[in-house]
């Protein structure tokens, strides 16, 4: 360990007034310049500009300084920028310390310029104290495993798999269900192109399965995982699908005709029933039936006539390794609470995904619009069910929060369905109860215009006073809706309809297990939370793990596939390189001080990164996460976290509280 102190260069930013309007930058500079160890102190309008960076580079190149303090905005913003400046000047990038005098000074002490200036002096002095003790560090080099792992085989996951494999990269796809395609397979045709959803899927799936670079695990769950950027492992538990041969739907029907058809079919959102051996639709991939082990009764085995079935729910554990992980676990439609707008209590109240299934040619009623065995003459759509909820008005979810976000695809999906109903059944009366119509996307507004042309009647409801839905009890129509219409004079209207369709929003699928394994951050809306909502929209805070599609938030297919390609690009940035570099902020043992007490090893029991070799503690560099629990317990002060050492902290603390007379 070099104990020699570094010569420090301090650079203070005006941030175009953001800082200098409150902090007297020149006073800070003049004060810092006089401190021991500070070789130069300069200021600039924008330290992050090329000009500002050049100042640092020049001083380093001129040999005036060894380490750098930049006093500007939060290090989150420009650490990379300033490290780049050090690196271009040939200096080790870890000889940088930042002092946050914008977010934590000028923006929080706006009304007391003198106090803010003093605080800036104190913080910058502390940063300089750390900088004089910084040491060059080398990132830990990890050989990348040239393989991408994609979790979830909906349209987003498939897009990501295809992009990686087309590049020539190996890919492992892990899908929980026995079939590929996710929720897109449940759609009929898609806005705004009117393509068949399954055509979109088929094309992608064909390309994916034809590529020898792709390995697919269906019926599989992630049960464990670990590693880090460049070298992750994922443990998969795959359940045997129960069927070994390829069947088409017709053959399958024959083989299982004696099985009871009594299981609610989730593919039709419970509107139809299926058997315990099943395929969701004709042409699904793979077109091999799967046994639904949860509902499969032992005696069912005897009722199956075909060969090629094996009724053992065997599980196999597979471990795969990859340099990056893409999560594409998708969404669930919001499930209305029992009684919410009559859902679950009035049979004529259904959700939009259910209606989409009902209207599909291969849907539960073969495309005929029939509810509760009644023909439908009038229908009302209610928007924003389970979205844009208001605290105090809507009942909270089990976690106590309401869904206060917009699900963005439902407005267009609703109008698409409404128009189609109207076009199929011109005599149908269609009402649309909404807050705002959000047909924002390319080609979406057309549905809204078409809806007006189709004489769909719009009513605008107040989210603070939503509609109520009751059975009509003996009237001509099945359901009666009361709503205050804000488009007119706020009159209370009473609508009698035969069918109510709730335009439900999106919720993330339950992936608690994966969240636990990889310690993934979730937002207040429970969707996975990207690391920076503006600048790094498809990356998670856990480096090397990317997000694709609706596990991140509501999206339509276009948006989900764009995000998937972006996630694939971010993966390729890792996978295309032979090595990745991990941050070196890990424990280091000073062998001269270590007496081999073993206390650190005990402390590190959860992570297990320390072992004793020849009476000295030795750190496993790729496992150590730099938490520093070992540091606190070493009686000899022999362990420190590189870059964050206790002596550095002490030096900072000792320089922070400058006596008032010196500050003045």
């Amino acid at each position: 360990m070099t104990k020699e102190k570094k010569r420090v260069g301090v650079y203070i930013c005006h941030c175009g007034g953001n800082i200098s309007d409150v902090v007297d930058v020149e006073a800070v500079r003049a004060y810092i310049e006089k401190l021991d160890g500070v070789a130069v102190a300069r200021k600039n309008m924008f330290m992050c500009s090329s000009d500002g960076q050049k100042m640092i580079e020049q001083d380093l190149k001129d040999g005036l300084i060894d380490s750098v303090v930049v006093a500007s905005c939060t290090p989150k913003l420009h650490q990379g920028t300033f490290r780049g400046a050090l690196s271009r000047a040939g200096q080790n990038i870890y000889l940088l310390e930042q002092s946050n005098i914008r977010e934590q000074v000028s923006w929080t002490h706006t009304h007391d310029h003198a106090a803010a200036t003093n605080k800036a002096k104190q913080l910058v002095a502390a940063a300089a104290a750390k900088a004089e003790m910084l040491e060059p560090l080398e990132p830990i080099k990890v050989k990348t495993v040239p393989c991408g792992i994609v979790i979830g085989g909906g349209i987003a996951g498939l897009r990501a798999v295809r992009d990686l494999s087309k590049w020539g990269m190996n890919v492992v796809l892990v899908e929980k269900s026995p079939f590929l395609g996710g929720r897109t397979a449940q759609l009929d045709h898609v806005f705004p192109t009117k393509e068949k959803a399954r055509d979109l899927l088929d094309k992608l799936i064909k390309e994916v399965i034809a590529d020898p670079k792709v390995t697919i695990y269906l019926n599989s769950q992630v049960i464990d995982g670990g590693g880090s950027l460049g070298d992750f492992f994922v443990k998969i538990e795959q359940t045997f699908r129960g069927c070994t041969e390829k069947y088409d739907l017709k053959e399958l029907e024959d083989a299982i005709k004696d099985l009871p058809k009594d299981i609610k079919n989730e593919f039709d959102y419970g509107l139809s029933y299926r058997k315990s051996i099943w395929m969701p639709y004709e042409g699904c991939w793979p077109s091999i039936p799967a046994v639904d082990w949860e509902n499969f009764q032992p005696e069912d085995a005897d009722k199956v006539n075909g060969s090629g079935f094996e009724f053992q729910p065997n599980k196999e554990i597979i471990e795969v390794r990859g340099g990056s992980i893409i999560l594409a676990t998708g969404f669930d439609p919001y499930q209305p609470a029992q009684g919410e707008y009559g859902y679950g209590t009035i049979p004529e109240v259904i959700t939009l995904p259910q209606l989409v299934r009902l209207m599909a040619d291969d849907g539960p009623s073969n495309g005929r619009l029939e509810i509760n065995e009644h023909p439908v003459r009038s229908v009302a759509f209610i928007h924003c069910v389970g979205s844009r909820q208001v605290e105090g008005i809507n009942n909270p979810q089990p976690d106590g929060k309401v869904n206060n976000y917009c699900s963005r695809a439902c407005c267009t999906a609703t109008l698409q369905a409404a128009n189609e109903l109207k076009e199929r059944y011109p005599d149908l009366h269609v009402f649309d109860l909404y807050q705002d119509i959000r047909t924002y996307g390319h080609g979406h507004e057309e549905y809204y215009q078409q809806a007006s042309k189709n004489q769909i009647l719009f009513l605008r409801y107040d989210p603070l006073n939503p509609a109520t839905v009751r059975p009509s009890n003996g009237r001509e129509t099945a359901v009666s809706i009361t709503v205050k219409d804000l488009l007119t004079q706020g009159e209370e209207m009473e609508l009698g309809v035969d069918l109510v369709v709730l335009s439900v929003g999106m919720m993330p699928r339950n992936i608690e297990q994966i969240i636990d394994i990889f310690k993934l951050p979730q937002g207040a809306d429970r969707f996975l939370q990207e690391v920076h909502p503006k600048l790094r929209p498809v990356e998670l805070a856990v480096e090397g793990i990317m997000l694709a599609g609706t596990c991140q938030g509501p999206m339509d297919i276009t948006e989900a596939t764009a995000a998937a390609s972006a996630a694939a690009a971010k993966s390729m940035n890792i996978l295309s390189q032979e090595y990745v570099y991990l941050n070196p902020y890990i424990a280091r043992v000073d062998e001269d001080l270590c007496t081999g007490t073993g206390l650190c090893i005990e402390e590190c029991s959860e992570v297990n990164a320390i072992r004793l070799e020849n009476g000295k503690a030795v750190i496993n560099k790729t496992i150590c996460n730099g938490c520093g629990m070992c540091v606190a317990v070493c009686p000899n002060d022999a362990i420190n976290i590189q870059g964050w050492t206790i002596p550095q902290y002490k030096n900072m603390v000792s320089k922070m509280l400058i006596p008032a007379q010196e500050l003045a």
Binding site: G16, G17, F46, C48, S49, S50, C73, L77, H78, G80, T81, G84, D163, K166, W167, T193, E195, L200, K203, Y405, C406, R408, D436, R438, Y440, G441, H442, H444, E445, E446, Q449, R460, L486, L487, T488, Q489, G490, D525, P533, K534, L535, P537, Q552, G553, P554, I557, T558, T561, A562, A563, A564, S565, A566, A567, A568, A569, K570, M572, N573, S576
Partner: protein, 432 residues
């Protein structure tokens, strides 16, 4: 300069910069061609960005620096594509570079020339709200940080050359140049324009000084904006009753712009929130048809704005006329409880203009264009960045209205499609 690149990126807004960075990170050699004197696009002009309210220049500059400092990226500014032809697996490209009249490499960006120049002219960076000189730095954190001389205003008095510390840096005789290069793939990221202010004649925006564009409002709100505050252009008074008019140039079939521009609801709410922070007593009203805050965290942003006391009125604005003292009279048709036609007065008014394709005719790569005038995707649902020309991709607002996040996502997505395309090009064919 090199004449062979793997990828050509046209336009260096946020989408172009993202595409460039991702391709370069994968080890590909990238040329970025930008027609303005600095990279950065529209984003560098903004005040703060929704929904995080990050300072726009703070989060754009790192991207700009990354592009500039990347070993695999070459930037050409003041340049556009003159011709673009496929030859086998390659594209032969001629780039036209306009003269800067300043040596871009030698210039230190000190700004002495700008101080010395006697010619004042309106500042395009501030949408003509402020003034600059005939020779000037494009803006404080421009990349490249080099002065640019506008010959239309220059009187060739020599004041700048006398003060410039770098010998021969300023050259009045600089000439345009055509540069030939070959590339293997190209990505069009040419961005958007706003609907023209005068698109709706009944708004009389050209005659009313206190009816401004949203980009002008962004500049007024920026920390180092032209007036250092929110003042009315007509008389420099503080504004205290401000109106935003939504869908002014979107969702309007009479203008041939039937689509929604996606960002104007959010930027208006953002501007309203920033205004109410700066002018706590001001009365701020947003006149809208539908509030479309559909993005992640956006509806919550809208709710916050309502809680802050910003007025939202569902109304169509039929006409805008002059009132006394430079004030503005709106003729509105309100929908709902207080419904009906009435007139309201404000002292400053922002037209929430929509997004249209960058000046029509700007189709350097001859790509198929959709009905809306934007570059069309041939596979909008599952590969939105593919265009009618194989090997050419599109990202960002060049293919339709988008916010920054969506533009960044598409930038990365286009990079992925382009690099996968390159991997599949037959290398031997490329060589001949």
């Amino acid at each position: 300069m090199e004449s062979n690149f793997d990828a050509l990126i046209i336009g260096a807004g946020i989408s172009g910069m993202q595409t460039a960075n991702d391709l370069a990170d994968q080890g590909l050699k990238v040329l970025v061609v930008e027609k303005e004197p600095s990279i950065g696009g529209a984003m560098i002009l903004l005040s703060k960005v929704f929904p995080t309210l990050d300072c726009a220049s703070c989060i754009t500059t790192p991207k700009m620096s990354a592009v500039k400092n990347h070993d695999n990226i070459t930037i050409m500014t003041l340049s556009h594509i003159k011709s673009f032809k496929r030859e086998g697996m390659l594209f032969k490209v001629v780039i036209h570079k306009e003269p800067r009249y300043v040596d871009e490499v030698a210039c230190t960006g000190c700004g002495k020339c700008e101080y010395a120049c006697p010619v004042l002219r309106s500042d395009p960076f501030d949408f003509n709200l402020g003034v600059t000189k005939a020779i000037h730095l494009p803006f404080k954190n421009a990349i490249p940080l080099a002065a640019v001389l506008d010959m239309d205003y220059c009187i060739q008095c020599g004041a700048c050359t006398r003060v410039c510390p770098v010998p021969d840096c300023i050259n009045y005789l600089d000439e345009p140049e055509d540069i030939q290069i070959t590339v293997r793939t190209a990505i069009q990221c040419t961005g958007f324009d706003l609907t023209p202010m005068n698109a709706k004649a009944e708004y009389h925006a050209e005659d009313l000084e206190n009816v401004i564009s949203p980009m002008q409002m962004e500049r007024l709100l920026a920390p180092h904006g032209p007036y250092g505050g929110i003042l009315r252009p007509s008389d420099g008074n503080l504004a205290d009753s401000i109106a935003f008019i939504q869908c002014a140039g979107s969702r309007d079939e009479t203008l041939g712009i039937p689509y929604c521009s996606r960002v104007c609801c959010m930027y208006a709410i953002k501007q309203a929130m920033l205004l109410s922070g700066i002018l706590p007593l001001a009365d701020i009203t947003i006149y809208y048809m539908d509030i479309r805050t559909f993005g992640k965290g956006h509806d919550q942003f809208y709710q916050n704005a309502k809680a802050m006391g910003i007025n939202f009125i569902k109304a169509k604005v039929a006409q805008i006329n002059a009132a006394e003292n430079g004030n503005i009279k709106l003729r509105i048709e309100e929908i709902g409880q207080n419904g009906g036609l009435r007139e309201v007065e404000h002292d400053l008014c922002v037209l929430s203009l929509g997004m249209v394709p960058k000046n029509t005719g700007n189709n350097p790569l001859h790509l198929a264009i959709g009905e809306d005038g934007f570059v069309a995707s041939i596979n909008p649902k599952t590969s939105p960045t593919l265009t009618s020309e194989s090997g050419v991709f599109v990202a960002g607002t060049a293919s339709g209205p988008k916010d920054i996040v969506d533009s960044i996502i598409e930038g990365s997505a286009a990079a992925m499609q382009a690099s996968a395309y390159l991997q599949n090009l037959n290398i031997s064919e490329v060589v001949q």
